[in-house]
Subunit: 438 residues, 2 copies
């Protein structure tokens, strides 16, 4: 699928540039040019940093008053390398310092914000947000940006370990001034990445809009409350009550994908109130799906993945891609079944595999959704028409015991039997990002 040009956004960039808080081009800081180009130079930048594995391990044992020496031993026992983790941590930290220094050198006001401190206030304060980490950090940063005018830039602070396909090309990690220079000169293009929005209705959900800053706590409270509503109400009022909610737009926008499926720690929660019971069940997910207002179809699978163009390179890609081993097998069988003398050399197999996998990826500014049924269960009892395809709108009704909808692998919503999700896209949900040529 050929990438669509985003040049049409150029004029929009100019009008936005002069119509909002971004400072117009300063001729003194960049190469002089008689025509003002759509350059970009922010005044206030928030740099959101990831938590490294080293920091995570430290925090994990902090409450136990573990010393560095103890931590080293603990990690060694697990077969992890303390030195290795510390090295990656230092690389990340050093790259963050490089970014911060580069920004300050241009007279830009910088606020460095740890992942855990990042919230809507930070988003409001900054005119640009830089994600300093990997793709996970970019997803987190995006998750709190709801305006399609606020630019978000990703920098991969550990290129050797992180794929960073949402980040700038890796060469800019240690050459960030170059990136700033190009931005200033307009040698870049805006990429408005389409995102997914969710409506939920039915039972077993919490639709009340909550302040994003409070989301974690409120959702938890609401979910716990919901789980015991029946009992509470019975005790208090003598009547049973399960609330049926009308369609509500959820306060999230998905940059990569929505995944719908059974939680692993499924029925156990219902059987006992012991939080750490370790009997995890892999249950198939059972739901009904309607594509573009088409007929409802019952499906059983390992879950449903609905992605954006951005997400078509992420989990969706891994669900659908084929290994050379599989392609070779298909071609061999095709050869033997058709009786034709097809030369099945390694080169052909590689080419076919590559082209097949490439066809799974589409442009981030494409306004279509792409759905994939993960490991569809097709047998005497269940069937599935299409394993994957494009759509403008998807409706999914849960028939699950204890399922969830996971947004960008980071936030989830209960999605139990009776809940109906409507998944769609709207231009207002776009995320404004930057593409620098390599």
């Amino acid at each position: 699928m050929a990438r669509r040009s985003v040049l049409c956004h150029g004029s929009r960039a100019i009008s936005l540039l002069y119509g909002n808080t971004l400072r117009p081009l300063h001729a003194s800081l960049c190469s002089a040019s008689p025509q003002p180009k759509a350059g970009f130079k922010p005044e206030k930048v928030a740099v959101v940093t990831k938590t490294t594995r080293y920091e995570f391990e430290q925090q994990r044992y902090r409450y136990a008053g573990v010393s560095e020496e103890d931590l080293k031993q603990l990690l060694a026992m697990k077969g992890s390398s303390y030195n290795g983790l510390l090295e990656r941590h230092n690389i990340h930290t050093s790259n963050v310092e490089h970014i911060v220094k580069s920004l300050k050198r241009e007279g830009i006001t910088v606020q460095v914000v740890k992942r855990g401190e990042y919230n809507e206030d930070v988003v409001r304060w900054a005119d640009t947000i830089i994600s300093a980490g990997g793709d996970g950090t970019m997803l987190l940063v995006a998750s709190k940006v709801f305006s399609k005018d606020k630019p978000v830039v990703g920098v991969n602070t550990d290129p050797e370990r992180s794929e960073g396909h949402l980040c700038l090309p890796v060469r800019y990690t240690r050459a960030f001034p170059e990136a700033l220079e190009k931005l200033c000169r307009g040698e870049f293009r805006w990429l408005w990445r389409q995102r997914i929005r969710l409506h939920l209705e039915g039972t077993g959900i919490n639709p009340n809009p909550v302040d994003l800053h409070e989301q974690q706590l409120s959702l938890e409270q609401h979910n716990q409350a919901h789980r015991f509503t029946s009992m509470d109400n019975l005790n208090r009022t003598g009547t049973l009550h399960e609330t049926f909610y009308k369609p509500s737009l959820l306060p999230v926008r998905s940059l990569n994908e929505i995944f719908i499926g059974e939680s692993l720690s499924s029925r156990v929660k219902l059987k006992s109130f012991k939080p750490h019971v370790n009997l995890l069940l892999h249950r198939a997910s059972y739901y009904e799906i309607s594509v573009d207002d088409g007929p409802w179809e019952k499906q059983k699978s390992s879950g449903l993945n609905i992605c954006t163009g951005t997400g078509s390179k992420a989990w969706s890609y891994n669900i659908n891609k084929l290994a050379e081993q599989a392609v070779e097998e298909v071609l061999k069988i095709g050869k033997s079944q058709s009786g034709l003398d097809i030369p099945l050399n390694q080169e052909l197999i590689e080419k076919v595999t590559e082209e097949y996998n490439k066809s799974l990826v589409f442009s981030p500014d494409d306004s279509r959704l792409f759905y994939s049924v993960r490991e569809p269960i097709v047998n005497r009892v269940f069937s599935s028409s299409r394993q994957r395809g494009f759509a403008t709108k998807l409706c999914v009704r849960s028939r699950c015991w204890d399922a969830c909808m996971v947004v960008d692998g980071g936030t989830s919503f209960e999605f139990n039997d009776g809940a109906i999700a409507t998944i769609s896209m709207s231009e207002e949900d776009q995320l404004r990002t930057v593409v620098l040529e390599n």
Copy 2:
């Protein structure tokens, strides 16, 4: 892959028949035959029954003192049909009664045991166990049978809703006396299904053998204890302690598969002690794998599935099978890349798809393991040599944050960073089952 004959087990069946508690053939009950055939007639049969969805929903609200009328309303609100669930429940119950009556009519002593009451004492008492439910019930029944001499027979009590590939052909569900007759006459063959055994070593595991009856409780206690060992020890003794365990054989045998992967409810448990916090993370699983004592390879994927011949028709099949849509696409690209005029009609696509998918299934008495890497992550940073293949032995070292090994979708073991699992097969772990011709 052609099915291997199990006729070689015939003589073994006879020696077992006369060497254990099974009663020898009674000429008076079956068609007379001059030669004693390897017939099979048990004296004490335990019938283990599944929990129907209807029973589950009832139990779910029982504590709230919900009446049938209330339950009906609750289900209706969720879009579920109370009548539908009750109908499936009645079908199952009626089929169980049919089985029990058929057994009693032959003078066999029957004990009907609900799923929750099934334990090692029941296994010891019975000379044969019948699973009355679906494949899930068969897996449960098998999970407590450790002797390769104890026959297990599965009957599918809801053929319209359940696949039952571990059960007798569906025609015997309402014609169980026929099945008993054939067993009696020796018109069947034994199928010793190979199972998987697990050794665990390293940190982050609980290797202590526990009474299966107590397993749920003990595992939980041990897991909770393990999670706080560091802190407890520090408080009590002033020293930090993480136990490194030597290789231990776990008290489980897998009939379908072992699945290794990250739990969904990952880091959240470590950050807070709130059991129902709903921030679920989908994390890729990171581990190292060595096939048949080969070189260690680092992999990142959605998990690793290691199955038996029996399991090759289950989850493994769904992981690896291809939809016609995908096969068609591969053949189309192969055609265009090779420049050959291959006639790609629907019939060819169907045939190729069918043959490809058939090649994923192998015989339950095959002593090999089959491993599949689920959604391998292949990028700048990670690579994977083979996505799947056969093996005699597999070693896996966890590099996961919070992963588990799930046995037959029903029991799990912590499998965190530093833990090493050795996965293999042994003849002594076989499960004795029955194959009746259709």
